[in-house]
C-alpha cells in the first residue's frame, strides 16, 4: 500500500521534474553567483558591491545586479513530522508533505545540487546526509508515509538546533510542516529559508456542530467539547492570529512562507511558491 503510493509519488514528481516543466523553476533560487538574472531596484540590506552603476545613472535610482544562485547549491529539506499530519479530508497532509518533498528533492537532484533531508518530530527521526543521488528522496518519502505519526509532536526548536552548525551559511532550507507549534527560526535566517505550511481547509475551518470528542493527534489526549458556531468562530480567530504571528516572524527573517492545502495540486502550488 505504502510502497504503491511511494512509487506513484516518485513517478509523478520525476515526470514533472524531468520533462522540464518545472525542473528549472523549482531551483531558480536567487543568490550569489555569476549567472546574471536581472537588474532590479536596490533595497536596503542589499550588497552594495552588486550595484549596477550604469543602470543607476540611467534611471536615477539605485539599481542592482541580480544573479541566479551559484550552481551546486546545498538544499536542505526539513520535514516536520507531527500527529497533525495524519489529518486530511481529501487526502492526508502526510501525503502532501511526501509529494512536496519528492518535487523539491528530484528537482534538486536533476539540477545537480546537493540534497540533504531531515525528518524531525520532537527528535530527529531520520537524517539523510548531503548527496547528489535521488535514492534518499524515495527513502524519505517511504519513511514519511509509513511511519505512525500519531502521538508525535513537531519541535521546531530541536530542528533548528539540529541544523545549526551542520548546515553552512547560504544553504537553501525548506521547512515543511503544519506550523501549529510556536516557533523561533531566527537561527535559520542566515540561510535562504522557505517555510511551507501544509494544511487542510477543514482543520482551519471546521463546520461541525454538536457534542464531539476531539483528540490531539500530537499527544493522543482528548476532550469532549460541544462545538457550535460561536466557539468555532473564536477558534478560527485564534488560529488565524497564531498563523499571522508565525508569518510575521518568518517575514522578519527575510524568508518566505506559503500555504499548501490538501485539495490543491501540489505541483502547481510548488511552482508558484518557488518561482515567485
Amino acid at each position: 500500500m505504502v510502497e504503491q503510493r511511494v512509487k506513484e509519488i516518485v513517478l509523478k514528481a520525476k515526470k514533472s521534474v524531468f520533462t522540464g516543466n518545472i525542473g528549472n523553476h523549482l531551483t531558480a533560487f536567487k543568490g550569489d553567483g555569476i549567472d546574471f538574472a536581472e537588474i532590479r531596484e536596490y533595497s536596503s540590506g542589499d550588497d552594495v558591491r552588486k550595484i549596477n552603476w550604469k543602470a543607476t545613472a540611467k534611471s536615477g535610482s539605485l539599481k542592482l545586479n541580480e544573479f541566479n544562485e551559484e550552481r551546486e547549491l546545498h538544499i536542505v529539506v526539513v520535514s516536520m513530522l507531527s500527529g497533525g499530519l495524519t489529518f486530511g479530508t481529501k487526502r492526508s497532509k502526510q501525503d502532501v508533505v511526501a509529494e512536496l518533498l519528492a518535487l523539491v528533492g528530484f528537482s534538486a537532484v536533476s539540477n545537480g545540487d546537493r540534497l540533504e533531508i531531515a525528518l524531525i518530530s520532537d527528535k530527529v527521526e531520520r537524517h539523510f546526509k548531503p548527496t547528489k543521488s535521488s535514492g534518499i528522496v524515495e527513502a524519505s518519502i517511504y519513511e514519511i508515509l509509513s511511519s505512525d505519526l500519531l502521538d508525535k509532536q513537531a519541535d521546531y526548536k530541536s530542528a533548528v538546533e539540529f541544523l545549526q552548525g551542520r548546515v553552512k551559511r547560504g544553504a537553501i532550507v525548506v521547512v515543511i510542516g503544519d506550523f501549529y507549534e510556536d516557533l523561533d527560526l531566527t537561527l535559520l535566517a542566515k540561510h535562504q529559508l522557505y517555510a511551507i505550511r501544509v494544511r487542510d481547509h477543514f482543520e482551519e475551518n471546521p463546520n461541525i456542530n454538536g457534542e464531539l470528542g476531539l483528540i490531539d493527534p500530537a499527544t493522543k489526549k482528548g476532550t469532549q467539547i460541544s462545538l457550535d458556531g460561536s466557539l468555532l468562530h473564536k477558534f478560527r480567530e485564534e488560529l488565524k492570529e497564531h498563523d499571522r504571528k508565525i508569518d510575521e516572524h518568518i517575514f522578519e527573517l527575510g524568508a518566505k512562507v506559503a500555504n499548501i492545502y490538501t485539495d490543491e495540486d501540489t505541483t502547481l502550488r510548488a511552482i508558484q511558491i518557488f518561482k515567485s
Partner: protein, 298 residues
C-alpha cells in the same frame, strides 16, 4: 426562619455519583483527531468550565429537591384541649439555703420535660415578680432560660407571692385551653403587699386557674394557711415538702393528677422547600437550552 433539614439526605449522593461518572464513565461520542486541538481547547476552556459547573450545580439542586428540604416547627396541639401550666418559682434569698433553689430547678426541669404536650409558662418572683417565659410550647428555650435563672434575679429581700400569682393569672387572658394550672413553689410569706391576696385570688378564679401550692422548708417558713387557702379556693391542692424526695414526689403527683390524655392530637408543622431548588434547576436548564440554541444558530 426555622432550621432547614433534609428528610432524605441520602440523595446527596447524586452529585458525588455524577462527579465519579464524569471521571470514569465519560459519554460515548464520536471522536476525531483534530490538529488544532490546542487552540480549540484554549478557546473553549472557560466555557467548558462554566457549563460543567452548571451541570454539576444542576445535579446538586436536583439532589437537594429529592432530599426534601423541610422546616419542622414545634409540636402544636389542639389548643382547646391541652393543658396550660404556669410555673411559679420563688427566687428569694432564702431559697439559697440548703441549695433549695437548684434542687427545685432540677425538679421543675424534669417536670417540664414530662409535660410534652402542654403549654407552659414560667414566673419568677422575689422582691418583685416577673414573667420569665409566657405560655409556650417551646420547652427547649424554657429549660435553657431556667438553667440560667438564679437566686437574686428579682432581688433577694422579699417575696412578692401574690403579685406573682396575679401576673401568672393574667398569662391566661387569651387562653382557650380547658385546663389551666398554676404551680406555686415557695418557701416564704408574701411581704411586699403590692397586690392584695384577694385580688390575686379573684383573678385566678376569673380565669378558672387551678393552683397547686407547694411550700418547701420547715413548717413555719411558709404560711401554710394562706397556701392552703389559695389551693382550696381554686380547686387545687396544697403540698408541703421538707425533703428533696418529697418535692419530687409532689411534682410526680401533680403530673399524674393533671395527666393529659390525648397524644393523637399532635401536629408537626412542616414546611417543604422542595419547589425552590426544583425551580432553580428548571430555570438553569432552560437557560442552558436557550444558550445552546442561540450558539447553535450563529
Amino acid at each position: 426562619m426555622a432550621n432547614i433539614e433534609f428528610e432524605y439526605p441520602l440523595f446527596f449522593i447524586i452529585p458525588i455519583i455524577y462527579l465519579v461518572c464524569i471521571k470514569f464513565c465519560p459519554k460515548r461520542v464520536e471522536s476525531i483527531y483534530f490538529p488544532g486541538f490546542r487552540f480549540i481547547k484554549k478557546v473553549a476552556k472557560r466555557r467548558v468550565f462554566i457549563e460543567n459547573s452548571i451541570w454539576f450545580l444542576l445535579s446538586i439542586l436536583i439532589a437537594a429537591a429529592l432530599a426534601t428540604p423541610i422546616s419542622k416547627s414545634d409540636v402544636v396541639l389542639d389548643e382547646d384541649r391541652g393543658y396550660e401550666i404556669a410555673m411559679l418559682i420563688d427566687a428569694s434569698g432564702s431559697m439559697r439555703q440548703y441549695n433549695k433553689f437548684n434542687i427545685a430547678k432540677d425538679i421543675v426541669i424534669d417536670f417540664l420535660n414530662k409535660r410534652k404536650h402542654d403549654k407552659l409558662g414560667l414566673t419568677i418572683f422575689a422582691d418583685f415578680a416577673y414573667i420569665a417565659v409566657p405560655l409556650t410550647y417551646d420547652k427547649k428555650s424554657m429549660v435553657r432560660l431556667l438553667k440560667r435563672v438564679d437566686v437574686g434575679v428579682a432581688g433577694r429581700q422579699k417575696t412578692s407571692l401574690y403579685e406573682a400569682l396575679f401576673l401568672s393569672a393574667n398569662l391566661f387572658k387569651e387562653s382557650k385551653a380547658k385546663e389551666r394550672v398554676a404551680i406555686l413553689l415557695t418557701d416564704g410569706i408574701d411581704n411586699t403587699n403590692t397586690v392584695p391576696l384577694k385580688v390575686a385570688l379573684n383573678t385566678l378564679k376569673k380565669y378558672k386557674i387551678k393552683v397547686y401550692t407547694i411550700g418547701i422548708g420547715r413548717r413555719g417558713d411558709y404560711d401554710q394557711k394562706v397556701l392552703e387557702k389559695i389551693a382550696k379556693e381554686t380547686n387545687g391542692e396544697f403540698f408541703g415538702a421538707d425533703s428533696v424526695a418529697k418535692l419530687k414526689a409532689i411534682y410526680n403527683e401533680i403530673d399524674n393528677l393533671e395527666k393529659s390524655d390525648f397524644k393523637a392530637k399532635k401536629f408537626v408543622k412542616r414546611h417543604y422547600f422542595v419547589e425552590y431548588p426544583l425551580l432553580l434547576a428548571v430555570v438553569l436548564l432552560i437557560l442552558l437550552f436557550i444558550n445552546s440554541y442561540i450558539r447553535g444558530r450563529r
